[in-house]
Symmetry: C2
Subunit: 192 residues, 2 copies
DNA sequence: GGGTACACGTGATGC
DNA sequence: TGCATCACGTGTACC
């Protein structure tokens, strides 16, 4: 139990000069450890008790909480990320004309029928009066614009859903409409 | 120097039964502390050394890193949040007609000049042929549409930037354009 | 061998 | 008083 007498002095006599150095080193070590502990205590916001054990325990809890918050934030960012992708996709779908030049040097004209609707999609180079003549052409073909989104900045883009008016139901084909719009836009009589 | 003999026993004789209990308590305490330290070491991913001091130091660094990551994520979320707000704002600006009914029962017609541009903003109830007549009206007034976004779903919305053509510069006032568009949309001769 | 880090038992202190 | 925690000096193992 640590109670020893004479013979022990002989055992440790050769390290007589050492203890003081070891003592100082141990003191420095304890100081470093306590400093780190103080830093930890100053960083962790929720300290239940000033115990060394409690400090470490609270630190562990706090780190777990931080990790959870990071996971939550990452999930949220993923969500809004996809949402933003959707919005960007919508905008791109709305006006794909900004990248028209490389993809459709001759413009893009698409007409198709869905039930009673005639869906028209145009994307071509803009020029003065094109909007007016296009709307005029559609009316002349007996197509009434029900819903549409039009934008003309660098290019002219139009997406419209039309219904046929008057008695001339099915009197005109999608291809005819397409050719009429194509010519109206100033291109030749043939399109891709 | 820790080397003591008989007389020391006498000094602590009154607490003879105590040391063993304190000893066990101290052992338990040390064990708890080491357990927490092990948990910390298992949680923190980057452990430079197995030192107690290093473990605490690495824990501190890791916590700071986690806090930075949280701040980064929060900033990002704020950014995409505002970006999304911008996009939503753009879309709302593009077609505020969806909420037209409550806000502008008589439609909204705005015309103003900016340098050589005439900016027109219309938001009113949709009706067949309105797009055509509106474009026609603008042309009749000597206004050539340079840039525009038009949408007609539940309501008709148009934002256009026009330039005056021909020799009739400044021959027409913003108010005149406004009244013309207002009448063209089917309303009376007066608008808000 | 000199240096470092840890575990240990112990005394002191606070509640 | 009893119980828990801490600081301390020391012994010892590892490079």
């Amino acid at each position: 139990m640590g109670v020893v007498c004479g013979e022990r002095k002989n055992r440790v006599k050769k390290v007589e000069g050492q203890p003081s150095k070891n003592l100082m080193a141990e003191r420095r070590r304890r100081k470093r450890l306590n400093d780190r502990l103080s830093m930890l205590r100053s960083i962790v916001p929720k300290i239940s008790k000033m115990d060394r054990t409690s400090i470490l325990g609270d630190t562990i809890d706090y780190m777990k909480e931080l990790l959870e918050r990071i996971n939550k934030l990452k999930e949220d960012e993923l969500d809004v990320g996809t949402n933003q992708m959707n919005l960007v996709g919508m905008l791109k779908e709305l006006k794909p004309n900004e990248v028209l030049g490389e993809k459709f040097p001759q413009g893009m004209f698409d007409v198709e029928r869905r039930n009673i609707d005639t869906r028209i999609e145009i994307c071509c180079a803009a020029k003065p009066g094109l909007l007016l003549t296009t709307v005029n052409t559609l009316e002349a073909l007996g197509l009434e614009i029900q819903q549409c989104v039009i934008s003309c900045f660098n290019d002219f883009s139009m997406q419209a859903s039309c219904s046929e008016v008057g008695e001339q139901q099915t009197g005109i084909s999608c291809e005819d409409i397409k050719q009429a719009l194509f010519r109206n836009a100033g291109y030749g009589g043939r399109c891709l």
